[in-house]
Symmetry: C2
Subunit: 236 residues, 2 copies
């Protein structure tokens, strides 16, 4: 079959057409014409903190509860009215970092690299909840101080999906997808977003502020999730 690639009578446009046809057929059964297509929402997660119930009480006082300032896109999650100061190893500080609710089992601080540079913390890229070999920091609240020994991360780019979305894109939990964002003068493909799936979860990509500003997300004209499939072309 491979001799088809370069018979003397075929021009460049012929080759291109064949390749296109092959690929269109090859991929025809994958991402299209599946089940329900939900709107693709891409949101920026600015730096924030998740707190354990114990740390919430240390920072904000015995019996303290998180108060809802604003509901987030995913049902049941919210930005709290509370903020904490995050202090790095060189006594540099981010004075007002928003707490997200509800509380979690372990406290976690999610920063962008720009924040890490400001604080003097070298941030590892981690899936939320994965605190192995991560730095700590000091959290300061109105009623007390917590010294975290780990849990300061740059959250790995990810896309939340429900069962409909897994079916539509033909992927499963923990798979990887590419996100292409068209934006005037700064179109970008973010590769290998982690798929994090669960029942009742809405389709939503989370980028951090560096990524969002790199593509000027507020001016983006198109967003698209692409399943990474090797087609032999120069793009991975």
């Amino acid at each position: 079959m491979t001799q088809l690639a370069s018979p003397p009578s075929y021009g460049r446009s012929d080759v291109e057409r064949v390749v296109r046809d092959v690929l269109v057929r090859h991929f025809a059964s994958s991402a299209n014409a599946r089940t329900k297509r939900n709107p693709l929402v891409v949101n920026i997660s600015a730096r924030h903190v998740h707190l354990s119930p114990e740390h919430l009480e240390v920072l904000f006082g015995k019996g303290a509860q998180l108060e809802v300032q604003k509901e987030l896109y995913q049902d049941g999650f919210f930005a709290a009215t509370q903020t904490v100061a995050v202090v790095g190893p060189r006594r540099k500080m981010l004075p007002e970092v928003r707490v997200l609710g509800p509380c979690r089992g372990a406290s976690q601080v999610e920063l962008a690299f720009t924040d890490g540079i400001a604080l003097g913390i070298e941030l590892p890229v981690r899936c939320s909840g994965d605190h192995h070999d991560t730095p700590g920091c000091i959290l300061v609240g109105p009623k007390g101080v917590v010294e975290l020994t780990s849990g300061v991360i740059r959250a790995e780019r990810h896309v939340h999906m429900g069962p409909d979305d897994l079916a539509y894109y033909g992927v499963k939990d923990q798979d990887r997808m590419h996100l292409r964002i068209e934006s005037p003068g700064c179109t970008t493909v973010f590769e290998e977003l982690l798929v994090r799936a669960g029942k009742g979860i809405k389709l939503e990509v989370h980028l951090d502020t560096d990524e969002g500003n790199a593509v000027n997300l507020v001016k983006a004209t198109r967003v698209e999730l692409v399943k990474p499939e090797r087609c032999g072309c120069k793009h991975k």
Copy 2:
């Protein structure tokens, strides 16, 4: 020819192999085995200012000259010891923005979107020197103040090239190329970098701080310039 795509006896791996073979031959003559391959340097341009000779004198005094603090990668260009304050429309300020030398015909302020948000300036993406429909700002130096009516931009991503590089990549001045950066947890393709070519110019990509932090450039394991060629696959 198109019936080759789906004869009943061909499995998925056969199709993939054919497509790979076609594409390898199709692209064999393009980016490889050309002329001299220069090292691909990717540098971050932090926010900075270019000054006209007139503005230099207003800001730093009659007869002022830029002093070299550090040579840049391109011969003849340098970061100056001088800095200016950039003041935005809401009296927000970036107090120490580095001046780059030598002087130019028209002053220009190059910021990342993160800087624009801090200053309250909505930045247009422009090729350096293109000041049509761009905002201004106030520059404050030790000896005086300049009110720019235009010239505040986010510089368009670009790659500087010399004649060898144009030949090697098979592109010409003002063409567009993609830049793929492999970096742990944040591999990214920046699309459509502007090719800016000239004699005596070294191969160098300029990203801004948002882009550099989005990919954690200091930890990048591989950088690659890719000529955008439509192969019919799902990637653009």
